[in-house]
Symmetry: D2
Subunit: 265 residues, 4 copies
């Protein structure tokens, strides 16, 4: 399908503030950025770099006063993401080098604390995709998805105690559970067409059967309409904006995802 | 200044043909991509990756039949590029690690053959920026810039014998001369506002005084209006498209660069 | 000074077990590996790769039975590490791209929880090196260094509550405090000549005044004799060995660091 | 087999001279560095970095006077390298991203000049390994291997005209021929046990059947005893030492490779 996205941020800045933004989706196997717009008002110098996960990041110093970021994109993405019941667990020694880091515990995914729980949850499953699908189903059934219920990211252990959370929280717990049974898992932030209420979204991917597969415990099932903006170990790596110095909260934040009906191809 | 670019390519493909494209300019210190469009007709799966020089490259398999690539961009770029007479030569041992590779000879820049010539040309100059400026001035005076005069890239030794060439040829000779006196130099391809006749352009950068500076022997002097698409050691690294298998020539290739008069900011 | 190190590990393995080892120190600005030995008994195939932090890592599948790792090195290292009172805070917008990641919270360094505490601790200091030195002095005075007091890594918040810990624990708290005032900080594991009791050691580095400086709250003052093996965000990234599957504990672990008296140079 | 290598270089330096050395073999799938020694006399500060091909490089400023580099290693390597007749050509679109660069022409491998010749040579072969084996056999039969016959590296076109060359020259021609039929190929420098006369050696690898395979037209057949030190596009990338400024020639250069008979394992 072809989607039109919009993400706008407006700030009222009191002192010049350094930002790192992650708002430029990359074209990859699963999505193609056919058109993209990225404007800053006022326009300031920006340095773009690729971080350790392959994300395009933009560094800038936001000046005092009103500062607005306006992005839109037109993206060709899959109508329906791949699923692969039965896809096997990949032996550690066969994992690509750059996938290994996604086995380690991280700030919000304390994989080192979930070994027993994950083993019990997935005991009846074939190692691999089916274990992750079981974790995703357990999250759907056991952790209430409550958009707007938290501001700061929560760690997987906190989410497991609290039993509810935002998309990011559910992803953190899912990632921690996967890693604790030696399945590499990573966080994705981006857009989801049809998300209710509309907002930036977060989900996770697990590496089984020789590639990454998408899992999203906030949705009844994996359909399509996903647009990835950033990948990382957890929310610490993939904030769409990171700001340094005195906290600055956006005056306004707008997220829109529409179906592009102008194209027939 | 704010520029609007357009680059279109059309092919008539007889057998499915792998391409690597380099048509997505990166935002960096000197330019900001405010809007970008990149369409393929028909649309085919594309994989984007970052090459060893930091360029965004797109891999695809072009299907048989008519195949068109359409790109446009709106870019904020410097009105006038920095110049730095007197900027000093950087000692080899002080160069950043990733700059060292730009001292080595490469396919079209046989730096190992120009030591004596470059030493003679630049003997009267302070080591650094002034040497490169002298090389640029010598190219301007001695190698005739003849757009359209060659199809395949020529190596610096060939250009030096022939005494004329396209922008790419002059850049190759400039790069070879710089490297032969231990000044790192690299090739840039992109757009230049006001280029006559309009086409894709190529120029070079040299690393002196702790950063890269732009040099362009095809122009009477360095102004502004440059938009970089790709960086590399020479033309072998920064082809805007590389195609594998039986040669396919574009039916049509269109390059346009306009001043954006809609914005006042 | 010239040091001789030895690190031996012996395991009794019940089922073939994947390991990632980080036991090959790199030569860098501060140390030169003049001789190195790295043996596995029995010898098994090993794949070496460079991780995202520049560390050399070795992947292997340890076979069932007795498995021993034997490493020695002869290293030329500084007699006394640099100190730089007054070295200034580096503005976020001036940090190298690859240093930015060391500002983010990580598994054991919850920088997002220490903003107020770090600001209070360092309020009287000039921003930069002096703030870090104050954090180091506070750790020395307030968190008891108790070698052997913990097995699993503890997070900075846990260490702060507990008020004692091993070298790794003190480093985690120091790193979290630095990052919370926007000073990049990273974990280092390696050897320290004269450490009592002798063992693998951990300390931290902070990025101020345009480079990394070493801090070690477990020692009365920073001298010399440090040999780095690995760098990372925290202990999750720089385990000298990471093992997957059922837990395997070493039968024996030997660490030795001696002064090399054979050389006079 | 287990091999002991020695490579020593001695210089008489008139003015302080920057060097980049590539003398630290990496442990990889095919070889394990069990012991290594790397000494400089006099000892000077050295910075080690990983270049764009994964090689460990050492940068230093050699002081005036006598300067010696002494390296030894004990390496476990294959008794017999893999061969794979029939291993298929890998479609361009299926090549790993980081292999693509080995399809491009480079300084000494003008792949763009050998399309017709390579197509004719390999016309009767199945695409892939068998084409490369045919190129290797043709080199063996047609280009005389004359150790010591050239000082400076020659480009593939020059080697093809001259019809004789050193190991490096034969490798350059083999690489250019492979790339011209869209088979990625790269240069390797290192040691070969039993080489006559003993010296540093060079050979090439081609990517077919999903991995790199070794080819060596200087030897009657591929056996074992190869130890790789560096990989690159051609000799420009993998000089064991690159020196800048006025040319300095080694007073003495010693290469030795022995079978290690002390170990029975």
């Amino acid at each position: 399908m072809r989607l039109l996205t919009r993400f706008d941020l407006e700030f009222d800045i009191s002192v010049p503030t350094p930002f790192v933004l992650m708002l430029r989706p990359r074209s990859g196997a699963q999505q193609w950025i056919a058109r993209e717009e990225y404007r800053l008002t006022p326009h300031v110098p920006v340095f773009e770099f690729t971080d350790g996960y392959g994300n395009l990041c933009q560094r800038l110093l936001a000046p005092s006063g009103h500062f607005a970021i306006h992005t839109t994109a037109e993206v060709v993405t899959a109508d329906r993401l791949d699923r692969a019941p039965g896809a096997p667990f990949v032996n550690i020694q066969s994992l690509p080098d750059d996938v290994l880091a996604y086995l380690l515990p991280s700030r919000y995914c304390e994989a080192d604390r979930f070994g027993v729980m994950a083993a019990e949850l997935t005991a009846a499953q074939r190692p691999g995709y089916d274990q992750v699908a079981t974790i995703e189903a357990w999250l759907r059934a056991s952790i209430r998805y409550l958009p707007g219920s938290s501001g700061q990211p929560l760690a997987a252990t906190e989410v497991n105690t609290r039993q509810y959370g935002v998309c990011r929280d559910l992803a953190h717990l899912g990632i921690a559970l996967c890693r604790s049974i030696s399945i590499p898992a990573r966080m994705v932030v981006g857009y989801l067409y049809g998300l209710e209420p509309m907002d930036m979204h977060a989900w996770f991917e697990a590496y089984v059967g020789g590639r990454w597969y998408t899992f999203d415990p906030t949705q009844p099932e994996i359909g399509g309409g996903y647009i990835a903006i950033g990948y990382g170990r957890d929310a610490a790596d993939v904030a769409v904006y990171t700001q340094f110095g005195p906290a600055v909260f956006p005056l306004r934040q707008t997220v829109e995802v529409h179906l592009d009906t102008r194209h027939t191809g």
